[in-house]
């Protein structure tokens, strides 16, 4: 059996008015690094809270490490590590004290599982007497990860661990996750950043509480239905208006320096497009075919 299993989980708030999780089913295999990708408010945190036994689902069943999240919640709490999206350690206790406290709560010691957190903890070591509340954002994340790991959990739940963390710390953080994966820990991580999706083995794209696609990042990109082009011109705002008004263009989103477009049919060639745009008075045109990113896939799925 997979380490995390969800079967048709539904969760609503405000007496059914708000549907946070809508009939979600997926599995996370043992030792997998699984990403839950979706915008804010997509229902990621609700799924995490159901899996960590903090929230009861309205219907559906879910299992973590073979235990039912409703019936065997006590067993689950001993075996999982959870790092909430919001920093939730004791700000008035020091780094050391927090770690020690969470170790003792799980009836273990820091020394016993030190090998697991060693790589992460060495970076925190110089600040070990500092209060957790006085740490920088990246350091707080590392401490929270250490605390979530200190009892050697079988499954690790990380809810938006890299939100609000600088680029360097984010990169480091993902490196750490890879290291943990090698230790055989199943990791379920959520993120609103599409660029982090490719760092996971498999991902689930989620929007408004519903699963849009679950696969490896490569497969998801392969499944992208159309050819994708990147277009650039001197006036990007006018270019976007022109492209969106063109009935032969299926979609147009701006991605940094370029607009990514897909076409309604293959009749419209790059040359035709170039010509029609030049007629509109746009110059310095650049049109090229590109491989889609996860974000392109996400946008295309969202509009289906």
């Amino acid at each position: 059996m997979a380490d995390v299993v969800l079967n048709n989980i539904v969760k609503t708030y405000n007496k059914g008015e708000v549907k946070a999780v809508n009939d979600v089913s997926f599995e996370v295999r043992k030792g997998e690094l699984f990403g839950l990708i979706g915008a804010d408010g997509a229902g990621k945190t609700s799924i995490f809270r159901i899996l960590t036994t903090l929230l009861l689902p309205d219907s559906g069943t879910a299992y973590v490490d073979g235990c039912d999240v409703v019936k065997d919640y006590k067993t689950i709490r001993k075996k999982v590590g959870y790092m909430p999206g919001k920093f939730s350690l004791y700000q008035d206790l020091s780094v050391e004290e927090n770690l020690h406290f969470f170790a003792t709560v799980f009836d273990t010691t820091v020394a016993e599982n030190y090998d697991l957190i060693k790589d992460i903890y060495v970076q925190l070591e110089p600040f070990k007497t500092r209060r957790a509340g006085k740490l920088s954002g990246g350091m707080k994340q590392k401490l929270a990860l250490c605390c979530a790991l200190i009892h050697r959990p079988n499954v690790l739940f990380l809810d938006e661990p890299t939100t609000g963390v600088d680029v360097v710390s984010r990169k480091e953080f993902w490196e750490m996750l890879k290291g943990l994966k090698q230790q055989g820990i199943t990791i379920l991580v959520s993120t609103p950043y599409m660029d982090e999706a490719t760092l996971c083995e498999r991902i689930a794209l989620i929007q408004s509480g519903s699963m849009m696609m679950i696969d490896t990042p490569d497969q998801i990109i392969k499944k992208f239905p159309d050819k994708l082009y990147a277009v650039k011109a001197n006036n990007m705002i006018r270019l976007q208006t022109e492209l969106r008004n063109n009935s032969q263009i299926k979609s147009c989103y701006s991605f940094g320096d370029y607009h990514h477009i897909t076409m309604e049919n293959e009749q419209l060639t790059i040359d035709n497009l170039r010509a029609s745009l030049q007629n509109e008075g746009l110059y310095n045109l650049e049109v090229k075919e590109i491989t889609p990113t996860i974000e392109d896939c996400f946008m295309s799925l969202m509009n289906r």
Binding site: T52, L54, Y82, P84, S88, L89, F101, F102, T104, D107
Partner: protein, 373 residues
């Protein structure tokens, strides 16, 4: 049990590290105990009196000097007419006017009786009542002085009089502090119990740490006990400091009854109050909410507990509220044990009621805590 030990360790570490909370626990009680009894003293002194003496006789002079030398009254001034004197009341310079009519001395001697007029500013009812009382006492005292002067030796008294002799039990010198200090001590303990416990739990909610704790094997009851026990101990400490240091050394109050019995009652009382704190924390989502709700209760508890005003003077509805207020019972018990030396047999009723409070409040809190999570 192991988990509980670690929770307690953590809790005490946090409390003793909280630079804002520590003085609140250990300094504020001292300050309040030193200041409040002085402010809540009902013995009214320095009542400003304005005298309209239209007689200017030796008798009126004698009366005035008797009034001003009593210590209760301060002469705000003489006024030629009542209207002038009333102006002084209007200006706030005087609280009382005593009018001595023309021919006071002459008529008193000739007709054997005379009338004086007292006008009192009754905006402050307590001051007015007491001021009027003191003044009538002084005047009747003066009256008997005159009688004594007039009685010729060897003759029978003209009229039989009843003389009252009263003896004040349990507080022979009617020392107001003896009455107030134990009561204020109760209020302090109440605040520690309800406020701090509620705020502490809600703080964990606000910070999200309660979520992190919930995903650990720590059970709810362990978490709750981990919160209640520290504040139970702190409540005991505050009471001890107040009783043995401030009350004894500053006010010289030594409990007449059994200290053990007092602590026994305090123990149950704190459990009841912590239950209230816990109950508030299950409703409140933020510290601000918890604070407001706790404040609401503390205000009612304080004012309707018999701390300042006797319960018997309250209207029926207020009396009922006072009777469902745990503070009322503890104030009663503290005064009974400290001043009167009551023993357990006198307090069975109070013990039963407080145990009831402890069970109901904690029961409600646990029931609601279960429901919400």
């Amino acid at each position: 049990m192991r988990e509980l030990k670690f929770l307690l360790q953590k809790e005490f570490k946090q409390i003793f590290r909280n630079k804002g909370l520590l003085p609140l626990i250990f300094v504020v009680p001292f300050v309040q105990l030193l200041i409040l009894p002085l402010a809540a003293d009902y013995e009214v002194k320095n009542i400003n009196i304005s005298i309209v003496d239209q007689d200017h006789s030796s008798y009126s002079q004698h009366l005035i000097s008797k009034i001003t030398s009593s210590g209760y009254f301060k002469l705000a001034g003489y006024a030629p007419t009542f209207n002038e004197g009333f102006k002084q009341i209007e200006n706030g310079q005087a609280d009382l006017i005593l009018e001595i009519p023309t021919g006071f001395e002459r008529n008193l001697i000739r007709e054997n009786q005379q009338k004086l007029f007292i006008a009192i500013n009754a905006i402050n009812g307590v001051k007015a009542g007491l001021g009027g009382n003191y003044l009538s006492q002084i005047i009747s005292d003066y009256n008997s002085d005159i009688r004594v002067q007039w009685i010729r030796p060897g003759r029978f008294k003209e009229a039989p009089t009843i003389q009252l002799v009263s003896s004040n039990w349990f507080n022979p010198f009617m020392n107001y502090n003896y009455f107030m200090v134990p009561g204020i001590l109760v209020v302090l303990v109440t605040m520690v119990g309800s406020y701090m416990c509620a705020l502490n739990i809600v703080k964990e909610k606000e910070a999200g740490t309660i979520e992190q704790i919930n995903v650990t094997p720590i059970k709810k009851y362990q978490f709750v006990l981990g919160k209640l026990i520290p504040f139970w101990i702190i409540g005991m400490m505050v009471f001890t400091i107040g009783l043995f240091i401030v009350a004894r050394l500053v006010y010289g109050i030594v409990p007449v009854g059994s200290v053990l019995l007092l602590y026994g009652y305090l123990a149950i009382y704190l459990i009841a109050l912590l239950g209230l704190g816990l109950l508030i924390s299950t409703f409140a989502e933020t510290q601000q909410q918890a604070m407001s709700v706790a404040y609401f209760f503390i205000m009612i508890f304080m004012l309707m507990s018999g701390l300042f005003t006797p319960l018997d003077g309250m209207p029926q509805w207020a009396y009922v509220i006072a009777k469902i207020n745990p503070v009322t019972y503890f104030i009663d018990v503290v005064r009974m044990i400290i001043l009167k030396g009551s023993d357990f047999s006198d307090l069975v009723y109070h013990f039963t009621i407080m145990t009831g409070f402890a069970l109901v409040l904690n029961g409600l809190a646990i029931w609601n805590y279960r429901k919400t999570s």
